[in-house]
C-alpha cells in the first residue's frame, strides 16, 4: 500500500511523521503547483470550492507517482468539506483512476469505525508505537508553528527578506527529515538564533490579523502567498489559526494547554454572529473583534470563492469594522484570482491602514511601510 494525502501548507510534514512512524509507505503529492491547479480544475465540478480542486489535483499527481490509497478527513458539518471525499471518489472512478479512499470521520460519527479504519491501515500495532507516532507528529507541528511565528514577526523587519525565506525553508526541511523530538527542537532553536541575528529595522510596524477559512490561511498556493506579500510591504501578520492549535482543539479535544492569542476570541462573535455557521465562520467574526480589541491596524479575511460560512461572516463584518473603526479586507480566492489584482488590493489596503493608524495614533510609524 502506498498512501498519500492532500496538501495543506506544511501539514505534510506532520502527517508524514505520523504515518512513517506507524510503518506506512508514504507517497507525497508533489508540492501544489500550476499543474496541480490545472488538473484539479479540469476534473472538478465548476462550482466546487478551491480546496476541493487542489485536493483532487494532489491525488492525481500522487497517483502518477504510484500512490494507491488516499487518506482524507471527513466530517458532517454544514460546510462542504465533509462530502468532498464522496464526490472525489466518484470522479476518480469515472476517470478510471480508482484509488482506495480511507476517510477518517470525526470520532463522534463513529468511534468504532475510526478504530477499524486505523486498523485497516496499519494492521496490528502496539499502542506504544501509536503514541510515539502521535508525539513525534505533535512536536513537529509545534516546531513548524514556532518557526513560522518568528518568520511572520521578522518579515517586515529584516533587510534581507529573501535570505530569511531561505533559512525558513531550510528549517522546514530539517524538521521534516529529523525523527527525534530533541533534534526537532534543536532545529527550531538554531533557526531562531540564526534569524534573530539578522540585521533588522527598528520601530513600530503595522499589524494585521489574518482570519478566515483554515485551508486558505495555511496553504500559500491557495492564498497566493499573501503573508509573504504583506511582510514585504512592511506588515507584521498574526494568524488566527495555527496548525498545532487546530490539531489540539479538533483532534485532542483541547487536552493540551497551548497558548494562542486568539484562543478565546470565538466568544466575541456575538452580538454580530449568534450561531455556529459551520467551518470557521464564527471564529472569523470573533477573531476580527479580538484583533480590533488588541489594537491591530487591520484585519484581512481569506476564503475560497463561494465558501458559505465565510460569506456569512463577511456579511456581518462591516458592523464590526464600523463599531471598532478597524479596516477589514476580504479576499475570495480560486484558480481565477489574479496575482496582480491581489497585489494591488493589498498595497491599497496597507496604504489605507497606514493613513488610518497615523490618524488614530497621532504620529508617523517609524518603521517604513514600503521598505527601502
Amino acid at each position: 500500500m502506498k498512501i498519500t494525502y492532500p496538501h495543506m501548507g506544511n501539514l505534510y510534514i506532520v502527517v508524514r511523521a505520523l504515518l512513517t512512524t506507524l510503518g506506512l509507505d508514504v507517497v507525497l503529492p508533489p508540492p501544489t503547483s500550476r499543474r496541480t491547479v490545472e488538473l484539479g480544475v479540469r476534473y472538478s465540478p465548476e462550482f466546487a470550492c478551491f480546496p476541493f480542486k487542489l485536493n483532487l489535483g494532489n491525488y492525481l499527481e500522487a497517483r502518477e507517482l504510484g500512490a494507491d490509497t488516499i487518506l482524507m478527513a471527513g466530517g458532517v458539518g454544514p460546510c462542504r468539506f465533509g462530502y468532498y471525499a464522496e464526490v472525489q471518489r466518484q470522479i476518480l472512478s469515472d476517470l478510471g483512476s480508482e484509488m482506495d479512499m480511507v476517510v477518517l470521520e470525526p470520532p463522534d460519527v463513529s468511534y468504532k469505525e475510526l478504530k477499524e479504519k486505523i486498523r485497516h491501515l496499519v494492521g496490528d500495532i502496539s499502542w506504544w508505537k501509536v503514541i510515539k507516532a502521535i508525539r513525534l507528529a505533535w512536536y513537529k507541528a509545534r516546531a513548524i508553528d514556532a518557526v513560522e511565528e518568528k518568520l511572520l514577526y521578522l518579515r517586515p523587519r529584516v533587510y534581507e527578506p529573501y535570505l530569511l525565506e531561505r533559512y525558513y525553508h531550510r528549517a522546514l526541511h530539517e524538521i521534516d527529515a529529523l525523527s527525534h523530538r530533541r533534534a526537532v527542537q534543536g532545529a527550531v532553536r538554531d533557526f531562531i538564533k540564526k534569524v534573530g541575528s539578522m540585521p533588522q529595522r527598528s520601530g513600530e510596524f503595522l499589524r494585521v490579523g489574518l482570519v478566515g477559512e483554515i485551508f486558505t490561511i495555511l496553504e500559500p498556493t491557495a492564498n497566493y502567498d499573501l503573508e509573504k506579500r504583506l511582510g514585504l510591504l512592511g506588515v507584521e501578520v498574526t494568524r488566527s489559526i495555527w496548525l498545532s492549535i487546530w490539531i489540539n482543539e479538533h483532534l485532542f479535544g483541547g487536552l493540551l494547554r497551548v497558548s494562542n492569542e486568539c484562543r478565546d476570541d470565538h466568544h466575541l462573535a456575538p452580538p454580530y454572529l449568534n450561531s455556529f455557521v459551520g467551518g470557521h465562520g464564527k471564529e472569523t467574526v470573533g477573531c476580527t473583534v479580538g484583533f480590533a480589541q488588541r489594537n491591530y491596524d487591520g484585519v484581512i479575511q481569506v476564503a475560497p470563492f463561494t465558501c458559505m460560512p465565510e460569506i456569512v461572516a463577511h456579511s456581518v463584518l462591516p458592523a464590526v469594522s464600523k463599531d471598532y473603526g478597524i479596516p477589514v479586507l476580504t479576499f475570495y480566492l480560486d484558480e481565477q484570482s489574479g496575482e496582480a489584482g491581489i497585489q494591488t488590493r493589498l498595497e491599497a489596503f496597507v496604504d489605507l491602514i497606514a493613513a488610518h493608524s497615523h490618524d488614530q495614533k497621532g504620529g508617523m510609524l517609524s518603521g517604513s511601510v514600503f521598505g527601502n
Binding site: P45, C49, G77, Q90, N274, T306, M308, I311, S315, V316
Partner: protein, 340 residues
Amino acid sequence: MKIGIPRALLYYYYYPLWREFFTQLGLEVVLSPTTNKGILDAGIKNTLSEVCLPVKVFYGHVSALADKVDYLFVPRINRVEPKAYICPKFMGLPDMLKARLQQMPPFIDTAVDAGMDGNPVQCWVDCFQEVGSKFTHNHQLVNSSIAAAFRTQQEFQRRLTGGMLIPDALENDCVPEVAATSQQNYTLRIGLLGHPYNLYDAYISMNLIHKLQSMGSFVVTPESLSVDEIEDEARKLPKRLFWTLGKRMIGSALNFYASKELDGLIYLTSFGCGPESLVEELVARWAKQQGNLPYLMITIDEHTGEAGMVTRLEAFTEMIKRRQKHENHLSSHGEPLHSG
C-alpha cells in the same frame, strides 16, 4: 399586530404552517408580494455580491415588508431534521440581515433546531412555543394554534403528493382538479430538480415550469414524491448526506432513475450555491450511468437572461425528441438502442 413573512426561501415549504400558527394566535399575517424587479434590486443593493441569488431575494422581501409590519418572522433555521443542515446561510440569516439592513421592525428570529436527535415536528413545536410566549401568556391558545398549524401543513403536503405543484398548493382556495388539468397534453416527461425557492419563484426561475409545460413537457418535481420514497433512496448513498435539501435532490434523482419514466432531467441551481456544487455533480454523473439520460444543468444568478434560458430549453427538448426518433428508427431495424 402584524407579522411579516417574506415570500422567499423556506416559505415555499412551510408557509401554511407559519400562516396558520400566527393567524390562530390572533395575529395578522402580511406576506410580501411575489418577487419582482424592485424586490430583487433592493436585495442586490443590500447584500454582498458573493451571496447567492435566493438570499439576495430574501433580503428584498424583508425590505419590502419593513414599514408594513410590527414584526418580521425570520427564524434562524439550523436543522429541520436531526443531523442535517440546510445551509450555513440559513443559520446566519438573522445576523446577516441585521448587519446590513437599517430601520427594521423587530425580528422574530427564534432558532429552529432538531439537533442530533430531535424530529421534524418537534423542532417547530419548540420554536412556536417560544414565539407564542412573546405574544400571549395563554398556553392553551399557543398549543391549539400549533395543532391547527400542523393540520394545515398536512393538508398542504397531501396536495403535493397528490400531484399538485407547490405554487398551486400554496394557494388556499385552489381546486385540485384545475391544477391537475394544467399538466395535460404533453409529449415529454421532464424531471425538474432544484431548491423550492428557485423552482417555484416564477421571477427567479423565469417561469421555468410554465415554459417547459408550454413546450409540451409534463414536469415532475421532488414534491410529487413522499418523504419516505426520497429517504429510502437517499439512504443508499455510501455516506449519509447532511444537507436536507441536497438529500431531497439526490433522493429524488435516484427515484426518477429507478422509475425509468423520464425523458430528461433538468437541475436548476443558484450560482455559488455550496451544497449544490457537490450534490449536482453526483446527480449529473449518475445520469450518465442511466443510459445517458438527457441532462441539463441551469445555473441562475441576477444576470441570467430569459432569452438564453428559452434557447437552452428549446435545444434540450428538441434534442430529446430527435434522439427518441432516432432510437425508434434504429430499434425498428433491429439495431441496438444505445451505442455507447
